[in-house]
């Protein structure tokens, strides 16, 4: 097992700072590279490393443009992965991710096509809001020479019981990085560190492609020699196109070591629309997906439940909250408490100890418990790829993400009980998830999952379903702007063909989260 040098990592790779309830993200533009580098060197000690449990935490990441603005050479910038260089908002990325219509990067509130490019992301964490304010004011007071212009300050909110706004416990499934603790995890959840941290071996037993710098620019010897990431090539090294020296350990140093790539997407959630849909449909089809053997009295279309109706005075909305929650859980693949359908098919079981120790095969080979198209079965299919292929777990392990996001905006109901949320009145305020994840290979991890699993209408043998929770149905090749979702049943499936978009993308960018030495190198440019 490789020993991971935690003091060389930024803390976000090791922990999500969960005890630090207050957090905000600063999106900055570099106004003066010199002032920014001076600040970085002078206050270097305040960035939180992976070996500390701090009272407050501060981490930093850069976009590709940000690294250029800081003064990184063009030679070096060209060694970053193409996915990172291109960013999140090219036409090709739009196509891969399905960012059309209300998620079009042209309409984002930050990043995207029409906004001032973001250079730097600062992530601030503190135990409470007043401590967070203090940290923020302290940082601003350090910027005496005007290094940055603040493009946006994104606030976050920790919701009761770590739920997200729709009312479901979020962030349960996290990969356990080998060498960073959590040894009691099942083997299929133990992931090679190189999947998240550059400079370590990944699930292929290889080093992931990592950015480099010319050795001559590393005057104080901060960085390790660059590695050749292709294992078996030998003979003459192919020189790069523009004639610069080959990526060879003698002439190149590794800028990526102990770093990672950070994906940030601001996902706005329409909570009212989500539960309105459940209400309309649960009234239509009582007890979705319940095995056909469990016969139900009365014609579901006319069943009215006066005693526990969500809207007692409105007989056109006869849905039973239990049915609404059941349908929503089929879409998510977990119950509101986070308990997976696989471990409790009939109803929520909040007191379940380990909500992440489950698989789909063989018990649910036909998707009768958890639909093939549900959010969690798509985003981490575990052993169910190709309906239970023997290679499934090995393949799944090569497409994992370390999630570090936090919610923002006031919840629709303070209690976060589904029964209260689904009755809550929409106050028109924005709420959603600042989705943040870390991975070493943007193409193989984040982009693959977003494209091949979330946005793929043919996922796992399906015909025309995208992720029912986060899917975007606007698409230049198709007039239809609603989605399809099927719930397999033992006899007659249920199918919804008018699924609206519950989640829209409001901003986003790719960042490079440097290791501590790389950060020091960047500040010395």
């Amino acid at each position: 097992m490789e020993v991971i040098d935690k003091k060389e990592l930024q803390g976000l790779l090791v922990r999500g700072y969960n005890p630090l309830h207050a957090a905000c993200y600063l999106l900055l533009k570099i106004k003066s590279a010199q002032a920014a580098k001076d600040w970085l060197s002078k206050e270097f000690q305040q960035f939180t490393t992976g070996d500390r449990h701090p009272e407050t935490a501060l981490n930093i990441a850069f976009t590709w443009q940000g690294l250029r603005a800081l003064g990184l050479s063009e030679d070096s910038l060209a060694t970053f992965p193409f996915e990172f260089q291109d960013g999140m908002a090219t036409p090709h990325k739009q196509f891969l991710f399905g960012d059309y219509g209300s998620s079009d990067p042209a309409g984002w509130t930050w990043g995207g096509k029409n906004n001032e490019p973001v250079d730097v992301l600062l992530l601030l964490y503190a135990p409470d809001n007043s401590a967070l304010d203090k940290l923020y004011i302290k940082l601003r007071s350090q910027w005496t020479n005007d290094p940055f212009e603040e493009i946006k300050k994104l606030d976050t909110k920790v919701i009761t019981e770590r739920k997200e706004h729709f009312g479901f416990h979020d962030g349960i499934s996290q990969p356990a990085i080998i060498g960073l603790g959590r040894d009691n995890e099942p083997a299929e959840n133990k992931i090679a560190p190189g999947e998240f941290i550059l400079g370590y071996k990944n699930e292929y037993g290889q080093f992931t492609a990592s950015p480099t710098v010319l050795a001559t620019t590393d005057r104080t010897g901060l960085l390790p020699p660059a590695r050749d990431v292709i294992l078996s090539g030998d003979g003459p090294l192919t020189p790069t196109r523009d004639g610069t020296p080959s990526r060879d350990g003698r002439t190149q140093k590794d800028l990526g070591q102990h770093g990672s790539f950070l994906v940030f997407r601001q996902l706005e959630q329409d909570v009212r629309k989500f539960w309105d849909f459940m209400e309309a449909k649960a009234g239509d089809h009582s007890h979705p997906g319940r095995p056909a053997d469990h016969t139900h009295p009365a014609d579901p279309g006319t069943a009215i439940h006066p005693a526990d109706s969500a809207h007692p005075n409105d007989s056109t909305h006869p849905a039973d909250p239990t049915d609404m929650i059941r349908l929503a859980s089929k879409i998510v693949g977990r119950w509101p408490s986070g308990t997976p359908l696989e471990l409790s098919p009939e109803k929520d079981k909040p007191d379940l100890d380990d909500k992440n120790r489950f698989n789909y095969i063989p018990a649910d080979k036909d998707g009768l418990i958890c639909p093939f198209g549900s959010h969690v079965r798509r985003t981490n299919p575990r052993d169910s790829i190709n309906r239970g292929d023997s290679t499934s777990i090995e393949v799944s392990k090569k497409h994992r993400l370390l999630r570090r996001g936090r919610s923002y905006g006031t919840p629709l109901a303070a209690s976060m009980k589904p029964e209260d949320i689904l009755r809550g009145k929409d106050d028109g305020s924005a709420r959603g998830l600042h989705f943040i994840c870390l991975n070493a290979d943007l193409g193989r991890q984040f982009e693959f999952i977003q494209n091949f699993w979330i946005n793929n209408p043919k996922f796992d043998g399906l015909y025309d379903e995208k992720d029912p929770l986060t899917g975007n149905y606007h698409d230049p090749q198709n007039q239809k702007t609603t989605g399809t979702f099927g719930i397999p049943a033992e006899k007659l499936r249920q199918r919804f063909t008018d699924l609206p978009e519950f989640v829209t993308v409001k901003g986003g960018a790719y960042f490079f989260l440097p290791g501590m030495r790389a950060l020091q190198y960047l500040s010395s440019l």
Binding site: Y204, I230, L231, G233, T238, R241, G301, K491, T497
Partner: protein, 434 residues
């Protein structure tokens, strides 16, 4: 039952005409099915068609190979019928496209001259893989339509049917299909039809039998010759191993501009194409190795890779390998579901060993030992090799662009399940296909 063919026409491009030819093909690519020049959609026997310009480049020994134009189709046999349609419906267009190649008869369009030209430059694929089983273009299309129609029927009648038995629901579906207007094409029941027998069942029995006979013959022959084959094969493998260990491996790299041009053309949400062109490792040992392996794969493919799965990859409609330019290069063309990132990951993650056996005979492939070990295990090296050798596909046409291989198989099961009687259990299983 339909048998498929793989037509491959390869002709040298007239010197200096690459750009003009590429521009012409770009016009066709704007609407490959319905453009006035080559309206491929009017030929009902084409599953996929493509044009690829292989740019000029030196071979492994530095000799220049001029650029050539590759035109391929995957068609429903018989070939004569396919050629007849090609030379009439798309005749004038093909005449125009091939006028950029040399040798070309020239003069005004003449279907007979075109047919002779195509015949002269047609190359048989060394290995041809079929992932859609014995299904014609029309069968695939009608099965997809059938499934869509039933789904809509179930959408509109779900509430009413919910309480019924599976057998009764199935009967209602049959009723609906028999009575709705316009339900007559082959493979679909006509109005008032009885559902006792499938009208045109896939009569594969004699075909399967002849396949089994051929396989048995091959096994018996190899057993009989094993005293000669085994020692020879051992020596052969040792020579290869020696070469693998001593010859330098060339390293590939991915160029950003090239990759961008490739990805820009992947605009299919459901299906995409892959074209690649690599130099074979020099020497007669390698040449005979790859020829033998491709022939063997071609022979065994119907046994090993039936049911729509190429070495475990469940998403390839058709693929072909061709050894061209006097044995100096390998051309690989495939039509698959998804996009190239996922497709190449499947090569690495699922079918690494089997495909390494074939592809490791090309230069730049990650180092192998005994032709199956190593290789695609070097995921970074494999991706670099694949992207460096991948070609821009200038024109790509798909007749049924919205179905995956998995969909095709499931749709066929749905159709088959309409006929005969079923137990309640079997009817439930069948209903789960929706």
């Amino acid at each position: 039952m339909t048998l498929h063919g793989a037509l491959s026409i390869i002709v040298t491009v007239k010197p200096g005409m690459e750009k003009e030819l590429a521009d012409l093909l770009q016009q066709i690519e704007k609407d490959p099915g319905h453009n006035p020049l080559l309206p491929f959609a009017q030929i009902d026997s084409i599953h996929f068609a493509r044009f690829v310009i292989c740019p000029t480049r030196p071979d492994a020994r530095g000799r220049i190979i001029p650029s050539c134009l590759v035109f391929t189709t995957n068609y429903d046999q018989p070939l004569a019928d396919h050629l007849q349609k090609l030379t009439t419906i798309t005749g004038p267009g093909l005449w125009k496209v091939f006028s950029y190649t040399d040798p070309f008869p020239g003069g005004p369009f003449d279907p007979n001259n075109l047919a002779a030209f195509l015949d002269r430059h047609s190359i048989k694929a060394n290995t041809f893989y079929v992932g859609v089983a014995n299904r014609s273009v029309q069968q695939i299309r009608q099965d997809a339509q059938l499934r869509d129609d039933i789904q809509q029927f179930l959408d509109h009648n779900g509430k009413r049917l919910e309480t019924k038995d599976a057998q009764d629901i199935r009967e209602e579906i049959r009723q609906f299909l028999s009575t709705r207007p316009g339900a007559t094409p082959t493979g679909k029941p006509s109005p008032g039809q009885t559902w006792t027998h499938e009208p045109n069942p896939d009569n594969t029995a004699s075909y399967t039998l002849s396949r089994i006979a051929r396989l048995s013959l091959a096994v018996i022959l190899s057993l009989a010759l094993s005293p000669i084959i085994i020692p020879l094969a051992l020596i052969w493998v040792l020579i290869l191993l020696y070469q693998e260990l001593t010859r330098p491996n060339i390293k590939c790299s991915i160029e950003k501009d090239h990759l961008e041009q490739l990805l820009e053309r992947e605009t299919g949400i459901v299906q995409n194409q892959f074209s690649a062109f690599g130099d074979l490792k020099p020497g007669w040992i390698r040449y005979y190795t790859i020829m033998t392996l491709l022939r063997l794969t071609n022979f065994l493919a119907p046994y090993l890779f039936s049911k729509g799965s190429l070495s475990g990859i469940p998403s390839v409609h058709f693929a072909r390998w061709l050894i061209i330019n006097e044995g100096r290069q390998m051309l690989f063309l495939s039509n698959y579901d998804g996009n190239s990132e996922g497709y190449l990951r499947d090569f690495i993650d699922i079918a690494g060993k089997q495909l390494t056996l074939l592809f490791s005979n090309t230069i730049g492939y990650p180092r192998t030992v005994l032709m199956v070990f190593g290789g695609a295990k070097d995921a970074n090296g494999f991706m670099a090799w694949a992207r460096q050798n991948q070609l821009i596909t200038n024109v790509w046409y798909s007749a049924n662009p919205s179905v995956t291989v998995k969909n095709i198989f499931q749709n066929a099961k749905i159709r088959k399940g309409l006929y005969g009687s079923m137990t309640e259990r079997a009817a439930r299983d069948w209903l789960q296909l929706f």
